[in-house]
Every structure is written in C-alpha cells, then in structure tokens.
Amino acid sequence: MTLKRGSEVLLGVGSSHGVAIAPAVVLSGSRRAVRRQHVAETAVEEERERFDVAVRDVQQDLQATLSSVVPGRPEAAILEAYLLMAGDELFAQEVSLQIENERRCADWAVAEVTAKFVAKLERVDDAYMRERSHDIDFVGQRLLRALRGGSSMSDELNVTEPSIVIAHDLSPADTAAMTRAPIVAFVTEVGSRTSHTSIMARALEIPAVVGVKNALDRIGTGDMVIVDGLRGQVIVDPSPLEIAEAEQRGGRYAAMMNKLGQGRDRPARTQDGTLVRLQANIELALEAELAVEHGAEGIGLYRTEYLYVDRAAPPSEEEQYQSFRKVLGEIGDRPVTLRTFDIGGDKFVSTFPMPKELNPMLGLRAVRLALSERALFFEHLRAMARASGQGDVQVMIPMVASLDELHAVRELLEEARLSVKAEGQVVADVIPLGVMIEVPAAAVMADMYAREADFLSIGTNDLVQYALAIDRTNQALAHLASPFDPGVLRLVHGVIRAGLEHDCPVSLCGEMASDPMGALLLLGFGLRSMSMESVAIPEIKEAISRVNMTELKTLAGEALACRTASEVNDLLFEALGDRLRDLLTGEPLSTPGGPPPSSDAPPGLSSD
C-alpha cells in the first residue's frame, strides 16, 4: 500500500471463534455490487463485444448442463427456456441501446435491462406470471457472472493465497464454492449467529464476524485484515503490535481447541455418570469426515436442501443417493438422520423459482413445498430409501405443523421404499420417520406426535423465531430472540417430557445445543441426545464432564420458575459461569498473564 493510514477497528458479531490474519478478497457477487461505469464512445464497440462473449459463455454453460439432463424431464424444459432467454434478440437489443445511448458498461446495461424486465413482470396481477421474473433474474445473474470474467463463483474466488472473504452476504451457493479455496475467515455486513454464513464458518472451523456494517466501504481487496471471532471485531490495516497480539490470541485458542479435541473418543458423561449422545449437524457430504474427527456419534441432522443449491435443475435421484452414500461411508455404523429438504424461507434455491411472499418464513417452505411438488419429493424419498439399504438411516420431516403432514409423508416414504425394493435393490425393512418440532403448535401437541412418530427432534432456531414472533434475520431484534426465554423453555421442556412419557426418542438440533449453558440446561430437562455443528462437540463434551446431573435437575427446575430470559441467563451464569468461562469466551480459564492450566488438571472445579 502506498497510502499509509492508521488501523481501523470494525465491530460486529463474532459468530465463529478463532483468529485469522490475511489479505481481504472483496466479493462483488451480490447484485448491489455490479460494476457501474460510464464508458467512452470509443469503448462502445468493445462493451458490445464483451456482452456477446458473455452470452456465448452462458449458452455454452447451459448447453453443457442440458446435455447431462435426461430429455423430457421438467428441468430440461426450463434449461431450454434459459438457453433461449440468454440469446434473446429483444434482450440483446435493449442492452445494446443502454451501452450506446447511455454509455454504460455491459455489466451495468445487463443489470438495468434485467431489472426493467423483472419489474414489468412483477407488476402483473397474476401469481404465475410474477414467478417468471425469477427466470429472467436467473439468466441476468448468469450473464453478470460471465461478464465478470468467470461463469461461476468459484472462478471469482480464484485465490491461491490464504484469504479473508468480505461480502455483503453469502448465500449457501457462495459458501459451497468456497470450500475449495484457501479461505481463512468470513466477514459479512449482515447476518447473525444462526445465519447460514455463521453455520458454515463453524463447520469449516474458520473465524467469522457477521453484521459488520459498511464492511464493503471500509475494506478493499488486498487490504491486510485481522478477523477476531472471539471478540467480534475486524481490524483493517493493523499495526505490527496488533498483529502480534492477534497471533497470540489465536494461538491460545487453537491450543485450547486442540486439547479439547484429544478427548474425541471418550463419551460425553457427567461427573455422576449420566451418558449423553452428541451428534453432528451437516450441510455437505464432505463434512461427515469432520464430524467423525470431532467424535460425533452419528449425524443428527443432514440438511439435504444444500444438494439443491446453485444449480439450474434439481439433483437427480442418483446424485442424491451418491451424496447420502458418501456420508454413510464416512460415518460407519453410526446413525444418520436425513432431513427432507427445508427449502423456502431464508434458503432460496434457484431450482425452485418461488413466488415472492410477504412472509416467506410463514409461507410455502419445507414439508409444505415438498407435498406440493410430489414428483420431486418422491425422487428425494426414493434416494433416501436406497440409502437405507446402505446404513443406519432415519428420515426427518422439517416444519411439521399438523399430523396430516406426518401421515402424508409416511405414506409417500413407504411407497418409495416399496418401489425401490421392487427393483431388487436393498432397502431397510423399516425406515424410522421422525418430525422436527419447530412450529409452536407442534410443540404444544408434542404428546400426539410422540405417540405416532418414531422420534422427535426440537429445532430451536425456528421455534424461538415462531414462538417469540421475532424474525431471526433481523439484527435489530437479535438480542430479544433468546432460547432462554421462559416461554420457549416451557415449550422445549414439554416436548422432552412428552417424549419420555411416550417412550419416543427426543433429540435437539438447534443452536441451543452448541451453547454450553444451553446444553447443560437441556440435560437438566431430561434430554439425552443433541445434535450440533461438529466443532462444538468437544466443547460441549467438556462442559458436560464438569457438572453432575443432580445439580442440573435443580437448576432446570429453577429456570422454569424464572420470569424473563435475563433471569434465566443470570441464574445459569451464577451457577455455571465460573466453571465454563473458558468455553464461553474462548479464552483459557486462567486470568490473562497467569499460568496456563495444566493439561493433567481435573476438568473444572468441584461444584461447591
């Protein structure tokens, strides 16, 4: 850098622990970051040429995808439409006019024309026609990518040095492409602890700070950046002193995590001998290996919707089956819970062009979408049925709000199982079918579900959002969305009790389980199985080993008698804070400057 300026500290939410120091790569992938530049008259021809090349690239890309699709399948027709749209004469004419008359670069012209066409369709008073705007938008985005000199995200992220990604927001498609690049940290302008970026960062074991306002204005590609996920801060152009300090902090954290990881093969057990099953949540098949490394006793939640991400057509049954098989191969004889796709809401996927909804979280998503797209859903279930012949597979339904949905899926799953069996393939005789309890109505009706479902799994992220009527992506409300709210705790407690009463296994797969305080409180409620991101397993196992069940039961009773989330927080912090301080802050138990805890020291202190 030639211009010397002082370092600058930006604050956000540290949503994945650790410290990273590396140059920044600013992603221009979002539509607000489209290059908008006026061009000289002499460059008009050049810009037209760039557009023509982009069109040919996109056509080639689509043609390649199309040739891998069986003719006559629904996605083939959609791909054909995209192909025609990419080379459309009207679109090209309008782009050409923008370049010539307005002297705009090709990127700007494409973005403008796309927006104009989309706006026109969105004005039409017909839901089906409004949906078409997604098709045009999809093609427009593809052209923009091609104009940036690569037809996919992975090309844009063509970095060879360790780098820190700075973006407005990262979609599941973006992060999926990143798993192949040497990315050492994420910084985004929006997001919360439970948003996709945060979950992926924790899965990839790299630090992340989200909700950093104006990050794109403050940080340029090539700037040196420190991302401190422990403190939730980002330092731009740090001084040598700041770098040295960050390296130390990162080193201490890595050493602690390393020590926790050594307990991988020991079971999660309280001091008085209660065993707890800790499983992993995964989004991509490649994370199964990470889960095993962290000592997961199976996969408690496989978010299969990520198979549908960043593609023009849904994955084939065979492709899905191969992904499931890969996970089963990694996980050995441990159980794997496949959750049927939870698409809609915040996880928009281009293979399902969805109508705009005023409240997508309350709209056509998850099992509702599945039951309205029966052919696709049936293929999905067939892939799962085939997987059931290859390992310990169970199937879980997201967002169930009515027992009718459980009945409908059970019928379809059995049909899928029989159709696979009829082809002479190996299938399990029984595929356990469970439901996620994340809609408050289902939590209230937990006893009924416990009678009929093979298992229940509490999804606290959505349960908190729906029970407290707080949009989980709204940062202004993030501090109110606590799983420790007594209203939420009563629902969760009721579900755990219903499971115990009716002998129906209950697990929990929300963020609450990866918070040491949350996990211990849940044990006190009677929960004995939890699923979380792999990286949290060693920490939670350690937390469990420092307490005994008797005190947790008492604590759980007291928590249920609290009036507010902050009372519950205070109660838990009072009772457990000192013993869990290192796990909660990511800093060693010793005071700064003091000696590090000996590695042979007994875990934690005695309870009194």
């Binding site: 439409a81 025609l84 459309d88 004469e89 679109f91 066409f117 089906y128």
Partner: protein, 98 residues
C-alpha cells in the same frame, strides 16, 4: 381474421386457456414454433405493445396470463400457416390442459 390480396399478411386472436399462462416453458414452445417460419411474426397482448414471437423475453413480457387475448400478426412467407399453428398452440393450452 383477414388476409390481404397477395397472401403475405395474416392475423388472428386467441385467448390463453391454461392456468399458468404463457410461462417460461410455454413461451419456449411458442418461440421454437415461430422460429420454424421465415415470416415476421408479432404478438400483442393486454399491454398492447407488439413483440416478436421469436423472442422468448418478449413473449414473457406480454404477460399472457390465463384469460388474456393474444393478437398474432404474421407478415411474409406462409403467414397464414404461421398464425394458425401458433393459434392452435395457444388454444390447446400449450399441451398442458386447463
């Protein structure tokens, strides 16, 4: 319906009957069909702005929802044939029923 003396111009009006209207797949079919004819074919719909039947974006932008009346005007070789063929496609609901 009218046709001028030398037979190079033809037109017709057809109403969209299928529930999903002229969506992407339907528009694709229409564009492919129109492209098999040499003549110039223009469509106009509720918004009354004429677009080429050989542009899928144009056809989509016609906003041909169910119940919309689509005016087809062809000019050139086999114009009558083109209008009739496109008319049949629209009237048949693009092969997907009502």
């Amino acid at each position: 319906m009218s046709e001028n003396a030398n037979g190079s111009r033809a037109e017709g009006q057809f109403s969209v009957v299928n529930a999903k209207g002229m969506h992407a797949r339907a528009a694709t079919q229409l564009v492919k069909l129109a492209s098999t004819f040499e003549c110039k074919i223009m469509l106009s719909g509720p918004e009354e702005e004429a677009v080429s039947a050989k542009s899928v974006m144009g056809v989509l932008l016609l906003c041909g929802a169910k119940g919309a009346i689509i005016q087809v005007v062809a000019d050139g070789e086999r114009a009558r044939e083109a209008v009739d063929a496109i008319g049949r496609l629209i009237a048949d609901g693009f092969g997907e029923g009502r």
